[in-house]
């Protein structure tokens, strides 16, 4: 029972970081209808921004998180301006967006390799690696922190989407961006905001992931799992992405204890299963092409 609870908590904390990644991806997918494969690059930069904010400036943990989030938001918005908005203006097919995203992801990854170098870096120790004892369960402090920070930022996002005017605009645009434009929604601004939100979440995710493990230029590959989690939860559905991510994190943690060599394969097996059984995912809507 103890082992079970412990694994569950580990899985939840891993899943919540996947969820932070999947949110940014899912928001963009729901409005622009393409997979933003450059998201991994932004997450990777988040890990580096946080690292340098904490070692060079030296800022405390919270300061590092804020710097990483703001810088990532800026990067994501700039990326949209340079790579996607020319395509958006031309009404280009989504294939072109995906290609542009691929280019951006290669660019971001390799500019870090070329300037900082491909070596592994580690964060300064913020917490000692001790565990907290709650009843019989011991929880790693950093895992707990990952979960708390991810949960707080997701709750803030839910508030923004549900209660604010811009949140309403985002929801309207994801339903139909043309219809939203006709109702007076400034879709350009909505897109700016979703890239900003995605970037901020990516900054958090990157930094938390970097602290838990190590920082290296290919860390963005981890986002592949959040793409798969988004399919698992239902492509284009935000609650689906969050639930899918958390479930993936939990399943991975449990399965990893028995088949550790194939740990990274679990996400793919899950993807195949979802595609065979219920391609629309847990919460997905069936998408029909409207002419």
């Amino acid at each position: 029972m103890n082992v079970f609870l412990q694994q569950l908590i580990n899985g939840l904390s891993l899943g919540s970081v996947y969820a932070l990644m999947a949110v940014g991806y899912s928001l963009v997918y729901s409005i622009l209808n393409f997979s933003n494969f450059a998201h991994g690059g932004v997450i990777m930069l988040g890990a580096y921004f946080g690292l340098y904010a904490m070692t060079l400036l030296p800022l405390p943990l919270l300061g590092g998180l804020i710097v990483a989030a703001l810088c990532c938001g800026l990067v994501a918005v700039t990326l949209e301006k340079i790579a996607y908005s020319p395509l958006r203006r031309r009404n280009a097919p989504s294939l072109y967006f995906i290609i542009s995203a691929m280019g951006a992801s290669i660019f971001l990854e390799n500019i870090v390799v070329a300037t900082i170098g491909p070596t592994f870096k580690t964060y300064p120790t913020v917490f000692e690696k001790t565990a907290i004892q709650i009843a019989d369960i011991s929880v790693n402090k950093i895992d707990l922190m990952m979960f708390v920070i991810a949960a707080i930022s997701l709750l803030i996002l839910v508030f923004i989407l549900g209660k604010t005017k811009i949140g309403l605009a985002i929801r309207a645009s994801s339903y139909s961006s043309r219809g939203a434009t006709l109702m007076g929604v400034n879709v350009d601004r909505v897109i700016f905001v979703i890239f900003m939100i995605g970037g901020v979440m990516a900054g958090f995710a990157g930094m938390l992931f970097g602290m838990r493990y190590t920082v290296y230029p290919q860390i963005g590959i981890i986002t592949n799992k959040s793409f798969i989690a988004a399919v698992f939860g239902g492509l284009g559905s935000l609650p689906g992405a969050v639930i899918g991510s958390i479930l993936l994190g939990v399943i991975e943690t449990f399965a990893a204890s028995s088949v550790s060599n194939y740990r990274d394969l679990i996400a793919f097996v899950l993807l195949i299963l979802v595609l065979v059984i219920k391609p629309s995912g847990l919460m997905g809507k069936v998408v029909e092409d409207k002419a």
Binding site: G103, N110, Y262
Partner: protein, 300 residues
């Protein structure tokens, strides 16, 4: 420049052309985007290498078998995802490429992470270019056939293509299968040129590198893809000292191409004997034999 060195690069060009031709059909002509072609290459390489080293098959049947097994795998990926609307195919190929690499990393029959060594060196210049020439001719006729035109129709406007009675799923599947076959053969030739393979050679970056060649060369152009491949295979040899910056420049180039000239270097334009003669006789007044340019703005 020593001939030996030049020959090596030319063989690599030929192998890359094989893979890029397949990707060109898939991305340039059918409008599907794959992150998993390194996986198909890996399958081709491992299958053919096992056949020649363990079962002592002759070279050519082993290479063809490698391609066919890759094609069989593509039926599984395609069958699950190609009839779904959205980016399912893209994400599935992403997972597929990584999964193949992980499996190969852990299966000790194929050497695990160390990979396979002492594969016979069979990919000579003649052998590689024999495959390339057959591949180019087949692709040329496929694109110009009814099937090729159907694929282009799907790329341009899927819904309209379906409305005029094109079986969209079937043609997407055909395109994917053909491109997996090419990638498998390319991988098999690569294995028999390098004489060793390991899973790390078939990372995501290999897939993206191949896709970049298609994009720089031009979506929707066979000759463009070939020119792009030769260009991008020779270029790094000339700029060895900037090796670190190579991928940075590629990434920026892809964004720039998509923003400024999405048809790439030669998008939609094919070199053909007829076209060149026409171009010479009319001395630059008319355009080169213009075939299908990707038209934008189809989707509202």
């Amino acid at each position: 420049m020593a001939w030996y060195y030049l020959e090596g690069i030319l063989i690599l060009c030929g192998i890359n052309v094989m893979v890029v031709l397949g990707l060109s059909l898939l991305t340039g002509f059918t409008g599907l985007f794959s992150f998993g072609h390194a996986g198909f290459m890996a399958i081709g390489a491992y299958v053919s290498a096992s056949l020649t080293t363990m079962l002592h098959w002759p070279f050519i049947p082993a290479v063809v078998a490698g391609g066919l097994v890759a094609m069989l795998m593509s039926f599984i990926i395609g069958g699950l995802t190609l009839n779904l609307k959205g980016d399912y195919f893209c994400i599935a190929t992403l997972g597929f490429g990584e999964a193949i690499r992980l499996i190969l990393n852990n299966v000790q029959t194929f050497g695990g992470a160390r990979g396979m060594a002492s594969i016979p060196l069979k990919s000579s210049l003649v052998a590689v270019y024999a495959f390339v020439i057959i591949g180019v001719i087949f692709m040329w006729f496929l694109i110009r056939s009814r099937h090729g035109r159907n694929m282009v129709a799907i790329r341009e406007e899927e819904l309209a293509a379906q409305a005029i009675g094109i079986n969209v799923f079937r043609y997407k599947m055909l395109s994917l299968a053909a491109s997996a076959l090419y990638a498998g053969i390319g991988g098999a030739l690569w294995a028999h040129y390098l004489t060793f393979i390991n899973p790390a050679m078939f990372m995501l970056t290999k897939s993206t590198e191949m896709t970049i060649m298609v994009i720089i060369g031009g979506l929707g152009s066979i000759t463009g893809s070939i020119v792009g491949t030769f260009f991008l295979t020779f270029l790094p040899e000339a700029f060895r000292e900037f090796a670190d910056w190579r991928m940075v420049v590629y990434g920026a180039a892809v964004i720039a191409v998509m923003a400024l000239r999405p048809q790439g270097l030669l998008g939609g334009i094919e070199f053909s004997p007829k076209g060149i003669i026409k171009w010479i006789t009319t001395s630059g007044k008319s355009k080169k034999a213009q075939v299908k340019t990707p038209v934008e703005g189809g989707k509202a």
